[in-house]
């Protein structure tokens, strides 16, 4: 019986193995963690986007989600804590044809890396930022993060978090991101479509994934079972596309608003940079385009 099973096991590789460093599997994520699902969606989206694989790079920060860059068989870099976006910015400016994906957790991206996030969104640098939000610092033992809901228990807030959390989507939209979406880890089809759209979108695109963390967050808030936790998020989620992200607050009692909130156009940093460097614009504040200098042949 067992010999038969073993024979079956090695018959065919997993379709996503071509983009995985299989020698490093099994990965470190806990059983039932949503990061694995999010990673699977990212890989599917990369395949669907049909961008040449040599032109895609993945950058990540520190944390559970930061490990994604170590498992993908593409150009990837695991940066220091919170510095995924600065590294990705440099990468993008040095190789503007490439597509850069930043995968990071909530603590890395918006606590220690908060300022980098704000300014990358303001400059509209062409990055795809994927934030796996598990509502705490999972890797270091479940401390309180800027996303921890009011009243939720963590290691550093044993009687409940006394702080109001960030609304990441509203923050990204207010800073000028051109694509903002939020899904739970169970909305895999919509999430994959969103990541594909975000990759193709020129400009700063932000996708937030509400992911279960049964080991740290769930255990301290009495939803220890990963299945219950993922269902808890999914059952309360309400899809409302194209609403103002300010209204899309996460209210765990009633509904968690998910959907694609922002999809606009704005000149990216590289567009603006090239425009200024060509010296075709007039003086500030009018910035009227100068009359182009005629070619020598035409002028005589």
């Amino acid at each position: 019986m067992s010999a038969q099973r073993r024979k079956k096991k090695t018959s065919q590789p997993h379709p996503q193995d071509e983009l995985l460093r299989t020698d490093r599997l099994p990965h470190i994520w806990c059983p039932g963690c949503g990061i694995g699902t999010a990673f699977s969606c990212v890989i599917t989206a990369i395949k669907k986007s049909e961008i040449p694989l040599d032109d895609i790079a993945m950058v990540s920060g520190i944390g559970c989600t930061g490990r994604m860059a170590g498992y993908i068989k593409l150009d990837s870099f695991h940066t220091t804590h919170g510095r995924a976006i600065p590294f990705a910015t440099g990468l993008k400016l040095a190789h503007p044809e490439g597509s850069v994906i930043v995968t990071s957790g909530d603590g890395d991206l918006l606590a220690i890396g908060g300022n980098h996030f704000i300014h990358a969104a303001r400059r509209n640098i062409d990055l795809t930022v994927i934030c796996v939000n598990n509502f705490n610092y999972g890797m270091t033992g479940g401390q309180q993060a800027p996303s921890t809901p009011f009243g939720a228990k963590t290691t550093t807030s044993p009687i409940g978090s006394p702080e109001q959390p960030f609304n990441f989507c509203a923050l990204a939209a207010a800073c000028g991101a051109v694509y903002v979406a939020r899904w739970t880890a169970l909305h895999i089809r919509r999430l994959t479509v969103s990541i594909t759209e975000a990759m193709k979108k020129p400009g700063f695109s932000f996708v937030e994934i509400l992911s279960p963390c049964p080991t740290s967050f769930g255990r301290r808030n009495r939803i220890r079972n990963p299945l219950e936790l993922v269902q808890f998020y999914h059952e309360r989620s309400v899809i409302r596309n194209n609403i103002d992200p300010q209204e899309a607050a996460l209210d765990f009692n009633n509904n968690l608003v998910v959907g694609k909130f922002v999809d606009t156009e704005r000149p990216t940093f590289l567009d603006s940079y090239r425009l200024i460097n060509r010296r075709e614009l007039g003086d500030w504040p009018a910035l009227e385009p100068k009359v182009p200098i005629p070619d020598k042949q035409v002028s005589g």
Partner: protein
């Protein structure tokens, strides 16, 4: 599948068929695939894998319609489905 009434072109529609393949050694027993399989093709087995987790096993392979949901949902890259070519 139960229909409210039989679709008029029921005979003409070809339902795709799939085969579920499980890489047992990678499974960590989270049961996502078993819970969310829309056709209940798989169930948890009583056996353990090398890491000591229960892994899923196929109950009724004829039910699989190759929707790839388990493949995308599995956090461990341990399950996938392949299409069975139609006999025509």
């Amino acid at each position: 599948m139960k229909y409210w009434r039989d679709p008029l072109d029921l005979g003409a529609i070809q339902v795709s068929k799939g085969r579920v393949i499980i890489i047992e050694g990678r499974c960590k027993g989270c049961e996502f695939c078993v819970t969310y399989c829309p056709r209940n093709v798989i169930q948890m087995s009583k056996a353990f894998n090398i890491k000591g987790y229960h892994f899923p096993e196929v109950v009724d392979e004829s039910m699989c319609v190759n929707c790839h949901f388990c493949e995308s949902l599995c956090p461990e890259f341990a399950i996938f489905s392949v299409a069975i070519p139609e006999k025509n």
